[in-house]
């Protein structure tokens, strides 16, 4: 734990595992919000010195992921009468086991990259945590039956990509980072609207029951 950024990255993984193991929808949204807040703090610790770009990215991320997205999701929950519990399709225990296997796999995969060019401003944990969050997010999308939980999985996926992006924050131009945040914002907005329509049309947001279109 030589640096605060390591600490933050470990907390990110912990939140992934927690979200995958809990069925309470509101608590999961809170956890993803906390993950967003932590990721907002992460750019300040990348150890390349603070400059305006980093501060803006940190502020934007904190605002979007920590405040605005959870607010949008809570609003969707209210308008779309979302049930308070959601059991994943594989069950909690198996989900936890697979999640931890995904973490192990992403650490192994990242070790293959580490020997080649290291990322300059990230810590050793950046790539494994990014991959682990990405994989956990995708796994979450696959195994959840509520549309809102799928949106949470998408947010987790984006957080994983963002962890990697922070390591590149010195090089990547600001415009693209802002564009990314804006796009995710609009995506969540559109998803919220879609969930409202789904709830009105189907009286539920259980995607397991939306299987009309198939071959």
């Amino acid at each position: 734990m030589s640096s605060p950024s390591d600490l933050i990255l470990i907390l990110v993984i912990l939140i992934n595992l927690a979200v995958l193991g809990i069925g309470d929808v509101r608590l999961c949204v809170h956890f993803i919000a906390v993950q967003g807040v932590i990721l907002g703090i992460l750019p300040l610790f990348t150890g390349g010195g603070l400059d305006m770009n980093l501060l803006l990215i940190a502020a934007g991320t904190f605002l979007m992921k920590g405040l605005i997205f959870p607010w949008l999701l809570f609003r969707s929950m209210k308008t779309a009468n979302v049930p308070s519990e959601s059991v994943p399709m594989l069950g909690f225990t198996l989900s936890k086991v697979i999640a931890v296997l995904l973490v192990v796999a992403s650490f192994w995969l990242a070790s293959k990259f580490k020997l080649l060019t290291p990322i300059e401003h990230g810590s050793d944990l950046t790539l494994p945590v990014a991959l682990a969050t990405l994989l956990c997010g995708m796994f979450f999308i696959i195994t959840q039956s509520l549309a809102l939980m799928q949106v949470l999985g998408y947010l987790m996926l984006e957080n994983g990509v963002f962890v990697f992006g922070v390591a590149m924050a010195h090089e990547e131009p600001l415009l693209v980072e802002m564009g990314i945040l804006l796009d995710v914002f609009v995506a969540i907005l559109v998803m919220g609207v879609a969930m409202f329509h789904i709830s009105r049309e189907f009286d539920h947001i259980d995607v397991q029951r939306m299987t009309e279109l198939r071959d």
Partner: protein, 309 residues
């Protein structure tokens, strides 16, 4: 190191462990707004039970009478392996933590056998639940200890508890503190499961259908019950010492070490009491998920240790 002082580890376990039960009960009483039992009540209970007689049923065999004795013997032997504060354990050799884990398992095994020996349906139900939960606890316990071993020693997993204990020092904490906290949390959940505390089992319930551990020992009385009570107190002390040894870096000042370890143990008892007061027992289907969560934490700690040099 010092063979004379190493006897103090099991002696502390033997003498002070019922005090833990007293602290837990007192904490629960305080949280409930009552005055509560005296702190030494557990000692008086043991004394009382040892002077009573036991009634055994015609349907039981020698296993029923031997069960409590063997389980207490196993727990006492495990007490010989666990170091306390700055003292060594009297017996230590490479790989002794496996023996430790399975001595506790032996004790549980014989308790379960004694319960099945009565031929009663209720004991059988408790036995099956207990065995199911302990199946899920075992990987958490062993992986946590493996994580400590890796963290403390390095490459070889087959080390002894004493050596691990001595290696948990200040610089190690600064480097890998979060990992040790993960392991401590996992071990805390293991302790709650092994000692049949809330949220896995309610020790104060009187409804047989909700009992797990209590129903196994329902038919024991007198000295048998005293052995079981004493054995469970020692088990709690041992697991608590393991956690305390993990969380406290070893200083080389004797009195300070002892004082800090005792304080941490008593604080852990208070924490168990608080957990018992604020939570209800989890539903049966939730308990495996909690234990899987503990295992997940232990695996996460292990994975992180392989990463962080």
């Amino acid at each position: 190191m010092n063979h004379v002082t190493s006897i103090l580890s099991p002696v502390a376990a033997l003498v002070l462990s019922p005090l833990l039960l007293g602290i837990i009960n007192r904490t629960k009483a305080v949280c409930a707004g009552r005055c509560g039992q005296p702190l030494m009540q557990a000692y008086w209970e043991l004394w009382k039970l040892l002077h009573k007689g036991a009634v055994t049923s015609y349907t039981t065999t020698w296993i029923f009478r031997a069960g409590p004795m063997i389980s207490l013997a196993a727990t006492l032997t495990a007490a010989l392996l666990m170091p306390f504060a700055n003292f060594d354990a009297p017996i230590h050799f490479a790989g002794d933590f496996v023996l430790f884990a399975y001595l506790l398992g032996l004790g549980r095994f014989f308790t379960v056998l004694a319960a099945l020996d009565t031929g009663s349906a209720f004991e059988g139900m408790g036995a099956s639940r207990e065995v199911f939960f302990s199946t899920m606890v075992e990987p958490a316990l062993l992986l946590s200890i493996a994580a400590i071993a890796r963290e403390a020693i390095g490459n070889s997993i087959l080390v002894d508890l004493t050596a691990m204990h001595h290696h948990i020092s200040g610089p190690l904490w600064a480097n890998a503190g979060l990992i040790l906290i993960f392991i401590a949390v996992a071990l805390f959940i293991v302790m709650l499961a092994e000692c049949s505390r809330i949220p896995i089992d309610d020790p104060n319930t009187h409804l047989e259908l909700t009992m797990i551990h209590e129903v196994m020992v329902l038919d024991h009385g007198g000295p048998d019950l005293a052995f079981i009570l004493y054995g469970s107190a020692i088990k709690m002390w041992l697991l608590g010492t393991l956690i305390a040894g993990l969380l406290l870096p070893v200083t080389n000042w004797l009195l300070l070490d002892v004082f800090l370890s005792l304080t941490l143990l008593f604080l852990m008892a208070v924490l168990v009491g608080v957990v018992e007061s604020v939570m209800a027992r989890l539903r049966m289907v939730r308990v495996p998920q909690l234990l899987a969560g503990a295992t997940t934490l232990a695996i996460l700690a292990l994975v992180l240790e392989y990463r962080i040099p």
